[in-house]
Amino acid sequence: MRKGIVQLVALAVAIAVPVTLVAVLFQWLPDSASEEFDRIQDVYWLATVISIVIFSLVSAIVVFSVWKWRVRPDDDADGPPIHGHTGLEIVWTAIPAALVVTIGIVSAVVLARNGEAGNRPLEVEAVGQQFAWKFVYRDYGDLTAGELVLPVGRETRFTMRSVDVIHSFWVPNFGQKMDAVPGIETKILVTPKRTGTFAVVCAELCGLGHATMRAPARVVSQAEFERWIEERKGT
């Protein structure tokens, strides 16, 4: 029995190692370009660690059982009549409950922090219309552009609107997403943390041109941002 447990643990580790390598060696998430996404990635890694442990454990028991206790088709004996074990059942009720509550609490904390608007965030309106995005800079005389330009390090509050059907504003590198819903306004915060060029992607099926409903998103220095504003105003 003891030997069996050792073998089982060894098998679980043998499964966990390649799975962990797959999780670590591939870059599963886009490079974070926002403070919000950094925090989201913390939750992601917590969930990943828990997932690797549980998957390795369950699949190890399945493989181990088949390996150890497989019988020939003509075997007609029965296994031992074990009907259950209250202690064990309490354990595998309580541990998953504790794990998911942990994930829940961490998630709620991250969600709350990602939803805290600081002092005077930059207000940008993102307007979805089949099949293009339009960005309105409320702080700059409702200046309107087809590309999204943001100053680095400045918290930005997006207000989403839609003129026709539901769209969804998503910049994969920001890790933030919110539907633009006709009839109501929705909001989300993004604090870009590095400069670069990204893409605004529509994530909610919005009709024939859904796949092509994209817009460039540039994060630039504050000075460059102000220059861009001036240029746009001039035109």
Binding site: I103, L111, A211
Partner: protein, 648 residues
């Protein structure tokens, strides 16, 4: 002669069919059947068209001809009703209403004596079970073909084979068929065959209602597929049909709105039937704590169906009213509330995920216990966890709406309930693997699918944890990560359990045994190609590929090609299954009454079972999984002599 003895002798002594006193041609045209179904369908269609046109003309509405309204009223309501009346689904009730003799002891529509009896309104739960399964596998094949078509389109970036409306149509119809015409009714088919037998009952509680629920199903399926013929193409707003996109869709969307009504009505009727059957028709001694877990699973599933399904019916009616009656339930210009649609829709469609999963849990419990030759570990907790999922399942719907713009405060409570569902689900997974522990494991095809299910479903459950956590979901929702998640749950989960169930009960249903080698080949082909198809989707999704797009960034090209190729292999693996099953059904070796040496009641009668299942009412004396207990039996039947004689 007791009733049971009469039943036992049924195939020989009953008049084979009730025969109207006219000639064969008269019977063909006016007797219940597909011919009468065809002309009555056409007749009802014509009458309803005239009614619509007449009313529109009388009220001076312009134009008098409106294709969408004529189709909705005449094509999708009157025609199916006429068809159902024609095949005889309402005959008994209409006779009763009209005060004509109803022939309560006429069993002419019960049981199958030739293959033709499968194409009639039949009240035998075993015939209906097979009708369900064959029908659903036909739609499974069609839905799979649609998937391969759009995977061909997705093999490289850009638009190659289809236009964008067709692409959206293929995606939407694929999902709709798989959900409403395969997974949900395939489980209903297996349960139809097995549950009454497991209970020790001669049939379902309402056999005629049972027959009607089956015949609603092909109507829904044909409606979904026929939407491709509608001007403008098939419905392309996804199977979720979100308003207001669905309201601006071409005519095909109405096919979805109405198809869902027929499929939903079918589900509700079946579920009511199961509930009444399970509550009232258990054999003596069959207490709730002695029910096989498949019965428990269908009991909880039926509760979910009965409570939740009316919500999707409502949501689709509202959308259709917005479309053709110009109401504004979901159009903000008229004061409608766009998010209202999603709340109503998901109030059904999240419980629907459990409707598509719990029966599979039941199947897997049966298979694992029998094939590991051990009692199910923690039987009571297994049953209670089903109840737990049932109750929690109604409190999580808004986790589909974390980025939909709904009230912020709803998100954290919905996240907590969602994550908590991992607890009863975890109990089930751990109990299955504990059942394996120290068992004597027979690695047959159903067992392979059951074990494949356990591991794949764990992956689906774990990706569900990611999506349940609001911050991660904000990034991952509406991406291919979600596509990967639902396929791990619904394919690696539900479809694997359906295959497990088919292989497990195939000898009971047909009396013949499938080929083990082909079965194993089917499993390994499916298992490997399934993983190569769907696992990379997690990656492309998290990296930034949204779902439901015909075009995507160049960076995802290679992986999408791999996914597409694997999906064709997955499609090909189904051919192995069909070949194996058809061949075994026609000329497989005779299986015997109980090839798995299982304890539950369906294995204590012949294969296939006699027309009224049991010659004598069985007496249940213990639980269903007493493997390894010396001398233990689940039920006592008087010697099965009559059964064997009748079917020798």
């Amino acid at each position: 002669m007791t009733t049971a003895e009469q039943h036992a002798a049924a195939p020989e002594t009953y008049p084979a069919h009730f025969e109207p006193p006219r000639g064969p041609l008269w019977r063909l045209v006016f007797g219940p059947g597909l011919v009468r179904g065809a002309w009555m369908g056409a007749l009802f269609f014509g009458l309803a068209t005239l009614l619509v046109l007449g009313l529109r003309w009388w009220w001076s509405w312009s134009p008098v001809w409106d294709t969408e309204i004529v189709l909705a009223v005449a094509g999708m309501v009157a025609l199916p009703v006429g068809f159902l009346a024609g095949i005889g689904a309402f005959d008994y009730w209409l006779y009763y209403l009209a005060g004509r003799p109803t022939r309560p002891e006429d069993h002419s529509g019960h049981g199958a004596r030739s293959w033709r009896d499968y194409f009639r309104v039949n009240t035998d739960h075993k015939v209906i079970g097979i009708q369900y399964l064959v029908t659903t596998f036909v739609f499974f094949a069609i839905g799979g073909l649609f998937a391969m078509l759009f995977r061909a389109e997705l093999a490289e970036p850009g638009l190659q084979f289809v236009d964008s409306q067709t692409f959206n149509g293929l995606v939407s119809v694929h999902a709709t068929l798989m959900i409403f015409l395969f997974i949900i009714p395939a489980f209903a088919g297996i349960a139809n065959f097995v549950v009454p037998l497991m209970l020790g009952a001669p049939d379902m509680a309402f056999p005629r209602l049972n027959a009607l629920s089956f015949w609603l199903l092909p109507i829904a399926g044909i409606m979904f597929v026929a939407s491709f013929l509608a001007p403008g193409g098939a419905f392309g707003a996804g199977w979720t049909g979100y308003a207001p996109l669905a309201e601006g869709q071409p005519l095909g969307q109405t096919f979805f709105n109405m198809g869902v009504q027929w499929a939903g009505a079918s589900s509700i009727m079946t579920a009511l039937n199961f509930l009444v059957t399970i509550i009232t028709m258990r054999a003596p001694g069959m207490t709730f704590w002695r029910l096989p877990l498949l019965v428990w699973a269908n009991f909880t599933t039926s509760l979910l169906v009965v409570i939740a399904t009316p919500f999707i019916a409502g949501s689709q009616f509202f959308v259709m009213f917005d479309r053709i009656m110009h109401t504004s339930f979901f159009t903000p210009e008229g004061g409608g509330y766009v998010l209202g649609y999603q709340h109503i829709f998901w109030f059904y469609s999240h419980p629907a995920v459990y409707i598509m999963m719990l029966p599979g849990f039941g199947i897997v419990s049966e298979v694992i216990s029998t094939m590991a030759r051990k009692p199910i570990f923690g039987y009571r907790l297994m049953a209670l966890s089903l109840i737990g999922i049932l109750v929690l399942g109604f409190s999580v719907w808004a986790h589909h709406m974390f980025v939909a713009g709904m009230a912020d405060w709803l998100r954290v409570p919905m996240m907590i309930t969602t994550l908590l569902i991992a607890v009863p689900t975890g109990i089930k997974v751990f109990s299955w693997v504990a059942t394996l522990w120290r068992g004597r494991i027979h690695l047959t095809t159903p067992m392979l699918f059951a074990l494949g299910f356990v591991t794949m479903f764990v992956i689906g459950g774990l990706s569900g944890i990611y999506l349940g956590s609001v911050p991660i979901d904000i990034h991952a929702s509406d991406t291919y990560f979600v596509v990967a998640h639902i396929h791990y749950v619904l394919f690696g989960g539900s479809v694997f359990t359906i295959f497990a169930g088919i292989y497990y009960w195939f000898p009971k249903m047909t009396g013949r045994m499938y080929d083990e080698r082909l079965g194993k080949l089917h499993f390994w082909l499916t298992f490997v190609s399934f993983n190569v198809t769907f696992f990379p989707m997690h990656y492309v999704g998290l990296r930034g590929m949204p779902r439901r797009v015909f075009d995507y960034a160049e960076a995802f090209g290679d992986l999408n090609l791999v996914i597409s190729i694997a999906s064709f292999v997955l499609g090909a693996s189904f051919v192995v299954f069909v070949y194996n099953i058809v061949l075994a059904w026609v000329r497989g070796p005779v299986a015997g009454a109980n090839p798995w040496r299982a304890h539950t009641l369906e294995w204590q009668v012949s294969s296939p079972p006699p027309i009224f299942n049991f010659d004598e009412i069985p007496q249940v004396v213990a639980g269903p999984y007493e493997y390894g207990v010396p001398g233990a039996r689940h039920a006592v039947l008087s010697p099965a002599r009559a059964t064997q004689e009748a079917h020798a």
